[in-house]
Amino acid sequence: MRGYLGIDVGSVSTNLVMLTEDDEVAASVYRRTRGQPIVAVQDGLQELATQLPEDVEVAGAGTTGSARSLSGVIVGADIVKNEITAHAIAAKHVVPDVRTVLEIGGQDSKVILLRDGVVIDFAMNTVCAAGTGSFLDHQSARLGIPIEEFGGYALKSEAATQIAGRCSVFAESDMVHKQQIGHRLEDIIYGLCKALVRNYLNNLAKGSELAAPLVFQGGVAANAGMKRAFEEALGEAIVIPEHFNVMGAIGAALLAKASMAGGRRTSFKGFCVSDLVYDTSNFTCKGCANTCEIVKISIEGEVLARWGSRCGKWEVEERVSAAKA
């Protein structure tokens, strides 16, 4: 089979997919990044390979996510794209007339508005932890309920507890308080979902019209409580795509396919990159008081990429970006 590889490396999770020529998901991997994006990509590729037939031929590769440049260098990507565009393209692929994409991942959340198939606006929140997957994970650990069961609890709630969810620190202390005065667990959990949705809408969607069809994707879409809270807040049904947690990677694969349309040869380096030893080192540039931390990625003594300086003097990067036509 011929296929297109998409890789989305965020700070919390790393997702890989292989799309067939017919844009079907042939294989997908969702795993934790654990602060080691290179290892995550290497292991992820290996895991992906086990799900694929032996005759697989990668015709193109794309990367996205906050480590898009790094993973692009590692695998030899044909296209490196920001995650907003990647998510929009994936959502449009699943629901062609989608007008609103709600995305909540491990470390950030986004809202993307499309009209007539074109992105017309977006917002992204990377500063505030409230409303991200990490925060929900943390709360599930604190309450001693596996995150997978969170949604089930939320659905059982009949009267959600009011939680001040505008900030993760305050939400947590408020939840503790509500527990101490005897609120039911399911009401607290659903109250938390509602607070996170309110927080999301206030921070990201101010003044914008969230029109249906709405697609909810990202790891947090697994949580049925969040879906319920969104539907209640917006008064619209919400679509959760089958592969909601790897949509960024699907977008990257679709972009890779589009970028190969002219019959270009892929620069994908092959599944063997899993076995190569990449050497990353960092040093502090003493050129000025910015004392930037420069990261260097090399293989067998050859520098593949270098970045991290404010002024750009150390930047060496294979120009894989197709952002420039």
Partner: protein, 332 residues
Amino acid sequence: MLGRVTERETRPMRPTIGLPQALVYHKYFPLWGEFFSYLGADVAVSGPTDKRVLNAGLEAADSELCLPVKLFFGHVLELAQQVDFVFVPRIVAVEGDAFTCPKLLGLPDMIGALGERAPSLLSETFNMKRGMRDFYKSVYKVGSVCTDSSIKVYRAWRSGLRAQADYERQLLGGVTPLDVLGQGIPEKEPDLTIGVVGHAYNVYDRHLSMDLINRLRKSGGRVVTGEMLPPKVIERELQRLPKRLFWSYEKEVVGSAFHFIHTGDVDGIIFLLSFACGPDSLTQVLIEHEARKTSKTPMMSLVVDEHSGEAGMATRVEAFVDMLRWQKGRVC
């Protein structure tokens, strides 16, 4: 296109005019309430801030605005369905050499940006920098939604000013706006005097301040505030600054804080400010610097925003009051 001002032909005979109970309300409600009533309008005041108003404001206003402005949004939306116009003046300057605050200068435009959700606004610019005549012109324009008679507007204005003067006299006599509005509780054999400084829209909004005034009274405090100080005193205190402040309401905050800091008339000072308040962010430095330099009277700054929890605030206020008593050698 925004900040729609009434057209004469659409003028209702007896308009209902909404006054949001936020921002300058606590300062000027007798003036405008009397002005509009005299002109025969029905005056509708939004209820005191509650959770619903707060949530409406948070939902509608930009998240980077300060809490009192967000609350103003909430109050305007609450009035939107009930009234013909919501009165949202653009108060640029109330004296010749100072502004109010940028957000008051841009208030009608920010409300207008709500689009279809914005009610019809009754909005005129009040700018004392342009002199009394210009100021009166705006008064007439506002009055013209109720009457064509300029003499009636003039009389309404005089009547409003009398009500305002009466109100300010009451405040100077030692009561707070809360007491005038019937939202204050009586003092309870106070054994401590606490100076509360901060913008009226922070201090007297019981939801935003988490009922600071009544809370202090309940715990045996007598509360004194900037409104109880004659303008002369405020002005004298401001002479301590090498450069004049260019925000009128901020001058009252700083002047009263300096007064309490220097006279030692109070046992402790609480400075209530809202996060994201531009002027307060700088005057906090001036006030805390002065308090530290003088070190006569203990002072606590309380910064509130929509994240603030009541429990945390209650604990801090309680602890502060306890410490003041402890220092006076009393058991708390």
